[in-house]
Symmetry: C2
Subunit: 492 residues, 2 copies
């Protein structure tokens, strides 16, 4: 077990916090609820960003940038929207400081009060639709397919690194369409982009589904989501895609003329993922020795450690490793040689294990003499002596295998922790043990709330699949009729 890391069996929550901090991913800052993302953590985020950005562009989206601030009055334009965000807004009221009259430091200059307060964006629908009003005149201006990478602020009272912070980084797509049909297709397209990304890059077997009315985004007619299972059986919402109908177009009076010159309100979607994905990544795969990063997102895919005696042998070893490094890099594999001479090899092994590097390659003099290298997988801890010849091909295949293995392990875990439950007694028992419960629900917010009050479980989603395979039954709580099962779970 890694030094100073609490085991996940002992305290899952503390295990997570320990990993984030000890693996140098992030730390709390002097500002309540705001984190510092450290270089190693940010390097993972950059890989997430680069891949998502590519996928957004492949689906026809362009990036843009809208203001950090939102006039207070804009928030109020869409009734549910303001209801959803008013309680957690950072509010800018002044634009100047002045020397304190008592001579100590600075104070807010009372003469520099803003006419209208500005809200630090918690999300950008309002400021963006206010711009779209000027961009859209006719059907020829549609669709608009914009995304922005930005920081947003929601004044959360209880924060946790990556999972829930007052400021976080995210992307928010905001699209405008001529028809409801097209907007709904976009909503679905983007949740599927998220699901593909989660599965193929993050190695997360996510469930795609609809949120219930109660769990929807403030201002949406439908919210689609991807939900992942953490190792404690709790759910984590990893991305959402909203069909906003004409709500924001009406709030900001955005109409377009069709081919015949008739005016209609524009249809909207928005969709986003955030640095919360970092939390999902860490929590899903890691163990008591540290992170386990899927190779597709690992900033360092292979770490090389020379075993040596004396400077001369070290130099020779590093030279040898540099040749291997070059071979790997030609295949697009990222490599680090850890040639530090002030720490022991065992210390290096533990450190790179903690940081989740997928493959460790070790070479000693005897390995060189025998034409082999020692390869250790982070995911299974399996150690093997492998022919030096053809090592780049070997590692390339191994990285793919590790990627699949991490995904399959998470999938197996989820499958073994997902059960159909048909009685309220079993529900109450199993929900405490950490499961996704596939249950019938009568479709009312009333029942949903009562279940939440009694068990803290929420409906994570109404899985898309369930629409394909309808299965009538009776609500696990009220006994009323139901058309399909939904997923109940406790969540982050």
């Amino acid at each position: 077990m890694a030094k100073e890391v609490t085991s996940k069996e002992e305290n899952y929550s503390q295990w997570y916090n320990n990993l984030v901090v000890k693996a140098d991913l992030a730390e709390n800052s002097a500002v309540r609820g705001c984190m510092v993302i450290k270089p190693y953590g940010y390097a993972i985020w950059e890989k997430i960003q680069a891949q998502l950005d590519k996928m957004f562009k492949e689906t026809g989206h362009q990036n843009a940038y809208f203001p950090l601030f939102i006039p207070k009055s804009f928030l109020s334009r869409e009734a549910e929207h303001v209801e959803g965000f008013a309680k957690e807004c950072a509010v800018v009221t002044h634009h100047r400081l002045m020397a304190s009259p008592d001579g100590k430091g600075v104070v807010v200059d009372p003469d520099a009060r803003l006419e209208e307060e500005l809200i630090v964006r918690p999300t950008s629908e309002t400021i963006i639709w206010n711009s779209y009003k000027n961009w859209i005149k006719s059907y020829r201006d549609l669709p608009i397919l914009c995304n922005q990478w930005a920081n947003v602020v929601r004044w959360e009272m209880r924060t946790r690194l990556f999972l829930r912070t007052a400021e976080f980084l995210w992307q928010e797509g905001h699209t405008a369409h001529a028809t409801a049909q097209e907007a709904m297709e976009e909503t679905m397209r983007m949740v599927n982009v998220y699901a593909d990304f989660a599965r193929n890059y993050m190695a997360l077997p996510v469930v795609v589904g609809h949120k219930t009315e109660h769990e929807r985004f403030a201002g949406a007619l439908d919210t689609l989501c991807i939900e992942a299972m953490m190792q404690d059986g709790k759910a984590l919402q990893a991305g959402t895609s909203h069909f906003l109908g004409q709500n924001f177009a009406k709030a900001f009076d955005v109409k377009f003329a069709d081919k015949d010159g008739n005016l209609s309100y524009v249809w909207a979607t928005s969709w986003g993922v955030s640095t919360r994905l970092m939390g999902a990544l860490i929590m899903s795969h890691s163990d008591n020795n540290g992170l386990i990063l899927p190779p597709a997102l690992a900033p360092i895919q292979v770490v090389m450690v020379p075993i040596y005696k004396g400077q001369e042998q070290l130099d020779a070893m590093v030279e040898h490793l540099n040749i291997i490094k070059k071979e790997l890099e030609e295949k697009g594999i990222s490599v680090k040689i850890d040639s530090r001479d002030n720490v022991r090899s065992g210390f290096k092994f533990a450190e790179w294990e903690l940081k989740g590097v997928p493959v460790r390659l070790v070479v000693g003099q005897r390995d060189i003499d025998n034409g082999v290298v020692e390869i250790t997988r982070r995911d299974t801890s399996e150690k093997k002596s492998v022919e030096r010849e053809g090592i780049a091909c070997y590692i390339q295949k191994l990285l793919d295998e590790i990627q699949s293995n991490i995904y399959n392990k998470a999938l197996d875990f989820r499958n073994s922790h997902t059960i159909k439950v048909d009685t309220w007694e079993e529900f109450k028992e199993k929900i405490e043990e950490g499961y996704f419960l596939l249950c019938h629900w009568d479709g009312t917010t009333e029942t949903e709330m009562k279940i939440q009050e009694e068990t803290k479980a929420t409906i994570r989603c109404i899985p898309i699949d369930s629409f394909v395979n309808e299965e009538p039954g009776t609500c696990v709580y009220s006994g009323k009729p139901s058309q399909r099962r939904v997923i109940f779970a406790k969540s982050y």
Copy 2:
């Protein structure tokens, strides 16, 4: 001349604003001083970012992310720093809104006042050095070479798109070193990275120099900068690199133990460029027909326009163009085929000229029959019939030629607008005509301020070169002795 674009001879400032808006780069938002960067403008910024990020990483830097908010008390820790930024701070005072008692909209909840006000970062030295305090214990933790891409806010009273906005996007590098020497080298390294980038990608012939004490960054011991000349002869500061000495280490008590265990304060640098570069890019090269983008930063390098009659010919033409497009893309050239059927070719030509696409390729039926294409350069407006065979190689060379030509044109302009001036009479005359004036200056802030008051000219920099070629003389204003010439100019 492009429609609705004022000529630069008539009104340079309005010409600039027209270009930014008409070429779809950016627009003002509903929030005072904050701009919306539109997709086409943002695509240029993404190319700037990608290249700079590569250069930062090649010089050993890593990205990280620090909080948007800075506790008010942090700003006060470094005396000059707070003096420099206090007058233009966006201040967050509350963290919640509530329904207005009069039932109309929302108001700030008076019970949600923050204990300590938070400043939206105008720059991040203070919050970053507060973090570095925890990162640095010994010489082994040094150097720290971090950069962040972020938004910052400075409450400017008079704003202009890209050049001066309340919120802007930038990168800020913040490094920590064991010795003054190393920090000074870093300061110089990064200003040279900026100069290389400006010259080779933005086609801007910048001058590298030191700022005077009066013009330095608030809290720096030395500020290096790159200064570019706009087409009206005014200077634009395009990037700065600061040697901060131990000022921030002292303010935040950041010490390190050297090999012998002795404690010393850490040495610092910071350096940044912002979306202001977009302003420099537009102002330096463009003409009355629109933008002229250097190929290295153009989101679209070649636009193809088919000349056709009827749908059938259009389809055939587009098929033909798609083959050429593929050939170009294989060489890494970005291409757009404009096959719109609702606007005339002349309209398309004007639009892509306005947007500064470096090369236009036009094909009509006769061109296909003759095995040629028509190529038009944006920078010189030169039009040519070119063999279809080998067109990709031709265009690749042409793009390089355009890149050089744009740079050389800007360099010639600057050289012809840079003169040595030795009398105060000539100074007053020439400064009004738009020149960089190479003058002797007595080295006092007093003289610098008087010259500024009388002419609005400031010392843009003390060029690095002038230290190589010292040239004694007498101050153009005071007549006192001087060791070298400095650059005076009016500026943005």
